[in-house]
């Protein structure tokens, strides 16, 4: 023991002295290269000779976010049913294999690895939650299999690599949508911002809103902050009231927004509130009741959209599953249809040509807006603005980028 300690210390010192910056910034990419080619050959070899093209989907069918996963799965299923009824892709049927991830990222990674290596799917759809999508994206990118996430809005997901796409807009876009709507449609000039300091989502939306609104010639009269879980917002609202804004941008979640609306009205602030898709819950109307009336928020899709494409989707969905589809079902439907379109356009089902085909998606008419993919593989698409009236959200307009 007495001799062991100095020896260990010496070894540690030698290791510490040897530390240096890595010459290659991406050691994982280097070691990942052989597996990537292996994955590619496996992915392209499977469908030969069979009459179905197999897609994979990972979703939260059980666990805390089960409604998200089930809606998305229904949307995907409906899209593939329609595609197969219309003759499939190049004479082949398209099928999807759905695995449950129990709303856990490690299960999502396991499921996606299984889809890639055991089931040899050509393309992967999923997930809703950004953390699960990030786990899946890592695996899909390493195995070189294209993946489309229907509704993960965190910008980091598609930054994982050139195989990862999404058919929804990213978080900051909603800030732009509301800025444009407030300036052009509501003719507001002075807006105050009340952001949730604990949520990256809220801060992101508020930053973009502030920048865009100022660029358009508007004026931000003040920025106040709260923390998720607070119950008293009177101090911030009083400060905002002094600046006499035309409207208040509150990009938070419905649970706080409902209370904020009530306290704002109590203090005599009559101006409309504005927010993002974090408002999208029945709870909002319960918490806010009359105080939230006349407020606006941006969202992915609205079942009230008069577009015949949307109305047909809603009718089909109701016939198949009962109930009005939510935004996640609409995005799942769009993701599956983008995938089918890409399969039709791609010369074969190898991952390289599929990736190419998905990347070329342009002006694709989805039910949750027209999808064009930019060079960062994010969807450039329109968002809808909804107005709270009579205890529900009604469609106002569609804002395009």
């Amino acid at each position: 023991m007495r001799r062991l300690v100095p020896m260990l210390l010496a070894a540690l010192a030698a290791l510490a002295a040897g530390c240096e910056k890595k010459t290659q910034p991406a050691p994982s990419g280097e070691s990942g290269a052989p597996t990537a080619t292996a994955g590619q050959s496996a992915g392209s070899a499977a469908p030969e000779g069979s009459d179905t093209i197999l897609l994979g989907e990972v979703g939260a069918l059980t666990g805390g976010q089960a409604t998200f996963g089930i809606s998305t799965r229904n949307g995907v299923e409906l899209a593939l049913k329609e595609a197969n009824a219309a003759g499939g892709v190049k004479g082949k049927k398209v099928a999807v294999r759905v695995y449950d991830d129990q709303s856990k990222p490690e299960e999502a990674a396991l499921a996606v690895t299984r889809l890639i290596t055991q089931d040899k799917v050509v393309l992967i759809l999923g997930e809703v939650a950004s953390s699960s999508s990030l786990a899946m994206a890592e695996k899909a990118q390493a195995a070189n299999v294209p993946m489309i996430t229907p509704s993960s809005t965190n910008p980091a997901v598609t930054e994982k690599g050139e195989n990862i796409f999404r058919v929804c807009f990213i978080d900051p876009f909603q800030g732009f949508v509301m800025a444009k709507f407030a300036h052009d449609n509501l003719k507001m000039n002075k807006v105050a911002v009340l952001q949730d300091n604990k949520s990256a989502y809220s801060i992101g939306l508020a930053d973009v809103f502030t920048r865009k609104f100022t660029e358009m010639g508007g004026k931000i009269t003040g920025t106040e902050s709260y923390s998720q879980g607070d119950t008293d917002y009177r101090a911030q609202l009083t400060a905002i009231k002094k600046t006499q804004p035309d409207g208040i941008y509150v990009p938070g979640y419905y649970s706080e927004v409902g209370v904020i609306a009530r306290q704002a009205r109590e203090l005599g602030l009559k101006v409309p509130l504005m927010g993002g898709d974090g408002w999208d819950s029945e709870k909002l109307y319960e918490l806010g009741s009359s105080a939230i009336e006349g407020s606006y928020f941006s969202n992915h899709y609205s079942p009230d959209n008069p577009d015949p494409r949307v109305q047909k989707f809603i009718a089909d969905y109701k016939a198949a599953y009962g109930g009005v589809p939510d935004a996640l079902a609409a995005l799942g439907y769009d993701a599956a249809r983008v995938a089918v379109e890409a399969l039709k356009r791609a010369p074969d089902t190898s991952s390289a040509s599929l990736r190419e085909a998905i990347a070329q998606t342009k002006d694709f008419p989805g039910v949750a807006g027209t999808v064009s993919l930019d060079e960062k593989r994010n969807a450039v698409k329109s968002a809808v603005v909804l107005k709270v009236a009579d205890g529900k959200a009604t469609y106002v307009t569609t804002i395009s980028p």
């Binding site: 280097e30 292996a38 856990k104 990222p105 990674a109 690895t113 055991q118 994206a137």
Partner: protein, 356 residues
């Protein structure tokens, strides 16, 4: 009486440690085997991932068994210690991502840093175990359960509100340097430690505490000291398991270390038999493979299309039902307090007798 039974089981457990488990020999034997395993699995990411998850579960179950099985204390916050290990090891690896040791090949220097991160994770989890255990293990009964439960939740909430740990989204971009070899080296170490504790005089004191704390104290066993020590060892390995977990799962987030995860580990220990290391191992293997096995079964039954999609949803209820059936048929767990080599020969002999 229970004390009488313990007197018969304890020397038995001490005697069965094979002579080969003494000294440095097992480590020297394990390393080439693990290297070979890693080399064989290099082209199969699915098997690697599944085996890694299994290995982590084995480490968790065997380490929890030291507290819940051997010492008879009821800890239900193992996922909390795992989270400490996972986040701190992950954090260290992220810090050291851009650094390499100049005179070593890059893959090897990554492994050195990985080991360092694991040690940091394990030691910090052990420290947490010490801090949690010291006050609560002085008490008897259910207090430890409540304190560990609280600890697990505290860790989760702290992580959820810390910017450096990625808050609710989690920590991603941790270098994925773990492989089957490293995970099973951890498994090997925890099994070695657990078996050696079971066979030592230290272990006999633990067994005594488990059977009757008052009697053990009357016999001069420092009950608090032994309980805290076993708790710290157990937390250390939970931290190692968490560190390993962080290096093969692409993203770790607080949702992975909830109370449900703690209960999963407790179920493994109880199913294997409280106090049986091999039982914990077999139960961990079984419970990790069961959901995947059910998945294979269901996909082979149902063709593509709607059926195969629906069945993945009923996988977890079936898992639960199987668990209930198992516990009803064997309430003492698979092996009780015995090890597989105590049980199998007798069972084999009985079977032979029955057939002849």
């Amino acid at each position: 009486m229970t004390t009488a039974r313990s007197a018969t089981t304890v020397p038995e457990a001490g005697a069965v440690v094979p002579a080969g488990l003494k000294g440095l020999l097992p480590v020297l034997l394990a390393l080439p085997v693990l290297g070979l395993l890693e080399w064989l699995l290099r082209a199969s990411p699915f098997a690697t991932y599944l085996l890694s998850v299994m290995g982590v579960n084995i480490i968790l179950a065997v380490s929890l068994n030291i507290v819940n099985g051997m010492t008879g204390q009821f800890s239900i916050g193992h996922a909390g210690f795992m989270a400490v290990g996972a986040y701190l090891a992950g954090f260290v690896s992220l810090m050291l991502k851009g650094v390499a040791i100049s005179f070593l090949p890059e893959a090897l220097s990554d492994q050195v840093f990985f080991l360092l991160a694991l040690l940091v994770g394990g030691l910090s989890a052990a420290l947490c175990g010490f801090l949690v255990g010291l006050p609560s293990l002085r008490l008897r009964g259910d207090y430890l359960a409540i304190v560990t439960l609280g600890f697990g939740e505290i860790i989760r909430v702290v992580v959820q509100n810390t910017d450096a740990f990625g808050r609710a989204l989690g920590l991603s971009g941790i270098p994925q340097t773990s492989g089957v070899g490293m995970v099973y080296f951890g498994v090997f170490l925890v099994v070695l430690v657990a078996r050696r504790i079971a066979g030592s005089s230290h272990g006999r004191s633990l067994w005594a505490i488990r059977e009757d704390e008052v009697a053990a104290e009357a016999m001069g066993v420092d009950t608090t000291g032994y309980k805290v020590r076993s708790f710290v060892i157990s937390s250390f390995f939970a931290g190692i398991a968490g560190g390993l977990f962080a290096h093969f799962v692409p993203i770790i987030n607080p949702g992975s270390f909830t109370f449900v995860k703690s209960m999963e580990i407790v179920v493994m220990v109880v199913l294997g038999g409280l106090g049986s290391t091999t039982g914990a191992i077999l139960a961990a293997i079984f419970l990790t493979l069961l959901p995947e096995g059910l998945r294979s079964l269901f996909t082979s039954l149902g063709a593509e299309g709607s059926l195969a999609q629906k069945v993945d949803q009923i996988r977890m209820p079936v898992y639960g039902l199987l668990l209930v059936a198992l516990m009803l048929s064997r309430p003492q767990g698979l092996f009780g307090t015995k090890e597989i080599w105590d049980v199998l020969p007798k069972w084999w002999a009985r079977r032979k007798k029955g057939t002849s």
